[in-house]
Amino acid sequence: MIGIIAILHVFVSHFAVGGGLFLPMTEHKAYRENNPALLEYVKSHSKFFVLVVLVFGAVSGVGIWWSIGLVNPEATATLIHVFVWGWAIEWVFFIVEIAAAFIYYYGWDRLDPKTHLAVGWIYFGAAWASLLVINGILTFMLTPGKWVQSQTFVSAYFNPGMLPSLAVRTAVCIALAGVYALITSSAVHDVALRNEVVSYAAKWLLLGTLIIPFAGIWYISTLPGMAREISMGGAPAVTIFAGLSIFLSALVMVFTYFGPLRHPRNFSMVFAFLIAVLALSTTAVTEWVREAVRKPYIIYGYMYSNGLRLADAERVQQQGVLNSAHWVRTHEVNPQSLERAGKEVYRVQCASCHTVDGYNSIRFAVKGWSWAMIDYQLAHLSSLKGFMPPFEGTEAERQALGAWLASLNPVPTSIIVQPQASAVKSQPNVTDEEGASQP
């Protein structure tokens, strides 16, 4: 859910910035060339812009905030504690941005060209500044740099990934401005004007996509070693997606070059949407990789992706998960409540990344595994699955979690293998509890 909201938001919000550059620049071009037809096109594009950006961009941005607060309240709270003034500053830019966008849109006939253009530039300034702020907060999660020791705002915001990521995202903004402009320009009726704006929009898209690889290499050079490894062979799924990201970007470039740039006359709205879908897929894949390489952390080297701070890990291991977390329904593990306790441990430690049957299904992940196999995996998570946080909790809790996980895929009793039960004193009757604990 976060993923879908986030990817759509990224796709729209980068357009909000890039489109903010596209509008005044194209308006300026129209004045300079004394080209009223082009000016008419900018006007119609600005309506599309307002409807997409102000509504969907704003609401989906709030949507991301809503969902991260629900899925990972600890990390959200930490980010807000560190960056509240950053967000407050971003909020100021949003207010200016929204006011400027409406005034730009309503002001076509009411403002003189110079003032109208100035409002357009104010919009772009505020929009890019809002990217400047949020970009530093985003890269903080993957490259918190010196903050982990110093805990100051400056060290958190000016983290190693901040500048290169800003370069990547600005290039993406320019490219997406081209993508959206291709959509609106393909709908222009006047053939001469359409040819002109189609190839003009294609240049935006190509310029953006040309900058991305260079900025991207700079960005990748700032990543933690393990994050680079994960994307380059360490975890096959992530590597495939990273490759796909490059492939799709290249595809966008090729299509744009041979399509709208070289042959604007044959360009159609279907083609425009094809490029938009490719660009959206590129965005989706790339953002997914960016999220994936951060594992097993949500704030690198400070907090695991399940919300557990590294500083608390040892305490949780000694006290146990069920005694450390407040919102659990059972605080101890005993043979009668083994699977119930296991399910609670799952909810606290695993549920921020896994669901039982849906996204990243845990039932599927442990299919065919015996309880002993699961227990072994849990005990060695960080060495066997480096992208997952280590299991933190008592041995009894680990076995309870294993018992519950094993119960998700019932197997004939004859082949049930249990771990060396040292913490769980008496042997639980696994088959009796299988049905009872199904969610």
Partner: protein
């Protein structure tokens, strides 16, 4: 610290709690002004749109007010971000807990707002094409926004009752626990909705002044019509407010009564509302300022109620603080610069329009 409430995050607050609470209440008032005009405006446009089928003045008013609603929606959302940010900063561990328990309902807010937003645009951009169906679109939008208000009321009240929610948690599935809807919440919701309708009435009366050059009759009628909503709403609010006050638990009410400042705020707020009623027919601006005073008093009082509820569990003043004063100063400077920029743009937008109309 109560065992039911998760501990606050170990990172210190970036400013003292009083400043964060001030910003929380201040930005909440800003959000209320936009939200009241939106929610009340949507309700009034629905009613006028319905009446407008046989009365052209109602039809015209609905159309004109509707065209003001998209920017108001944008500002309602954006101005709402700041108070929610400060709320999460100071009361995060309470707010996240209640939100997670009602996660699916809480998440639904995003989609309800998105649909409502497009509803507002649909009504505005396709008003002629929709014809009589337009008021149905607005009715749907009103229902969406009222649902949002209801979910907000429920969550923001729930975060004050950690004990009750712990009991529900033991019985239900995380994410789908909405809790019961006590009469208190109905009164609270009614208090907000009535305020919204009254304030939107005043806003429409103010807005109608801008129609004067084009159609003096419509402007006069719009002013009277808006004032009817404002005065009717404010009178009803006196009753609803009392109902809300007396639905608060006895211990909370006692805590308020024993606090001279709280009593002062309440009395002053009511007096200002009465003053607004008296001055509204003569001066809309004076009434507006008085109402702004009432809203501010009530917002502070609301904060006192929250503190009274949470006293047994949590005191924000016990949290560690490490001020980030330089970044805070940048925020203040940018805020002033930003407001000046918006002011300049608005001035430029409206000034030439006036001169153009004058010369026409």
């Amino acid at each position: 610290m109560n065992p039911v409430i998760p501990g606050p995050v170990p990172v210190p607050l970036p400013a003292p709690p009083w400043l964060l609470e001030f910003l929380l209440v201040f930005t909440f008032v800003l959000h209320l002004l936009a939200m009241d005009f939106l929610l009340g405006g949507v309700v009034i446009v629905t009613v006028s749109g319905y009446l407008g089928r046989h009365d052209s003045r109602h039809h015209e008013l609905a159309r004109r007010v509707s065209s003001a609603l998209p920017p108001v929606t944008a500002f309602t959302i954006t101005l709402g971000v700041a108070p929610l940010l400060f709320l999460q900063l100071v009361y995060g561990q309470l707010f996240y807990t209640s939100s997670v328990l009602m996660a699916w309902y809480w998440l639904a807010v995003v989609f309800l707002v998105l649909l409502g937003y497009y509803g507002v645009y649909w009504h505005q951009l396709q008003n002629d094409e929709l014809g009589p169906k337009a008021s149905w679109v607005m009715l749907g939008t009103a229902i969406l926004f009222l649902l949002v208000a209801f979910i907000f009321t429920q969550n923001i009240t729930a975060m004050l009752h950690p004990q009750d929610f712990y009991r529900l948690f033991m019985q239900g599935n995380v994410g789908t626990i909405f809790g019961s809807v006590p009469l208190l919440n109905v009164a609270r919701l009614a208090h907000f909705v009535v305020a919204a309708v009254a304030l939107a009435g005043l806003g429409i009366a103010l807005l109608s002044n801008r129609w004067r050059r084009e159609s003096p009759e419509l402007a006069d009628w719009g002013r009277r019509y808006g004032l009817t909503w404002f005065m009717g709403g404010t009178l009803v609010q006196l009753l609803v407010g009392l109902w809300f006050l007396f639905s608060l638990p006895v211990e909370i009410r006692q805590a308020l009564v024993s606090d001279k400042l709280a009593v002062g705020l309440l009395v002053l707020g009511i007096l200002l509302a009465l003053l607004a009623l008296l001055t509204a027919p003569k001066s809309l601006v004076a009434a507006g300022l008085a109402v702004l005073g009432t809203i501010s008093m009530m917002a502070v009082l609301r904060h006192f109620v929250r503190l009274a509820y949470l006293r047994p569990y949590f005191d924000p003043h016990s949290l560690p603080v490490k001020g980030q004063w330089i970044v805070f100063s940048i925020f203040v400077v940018l805020l002033l610069a930003g407001l000046a920029t918006v002011g300049w743009m608005l001035y430029m937008l409206y000034r030439p329009a006036a001169t153009r109309q004058a010369s026409a």
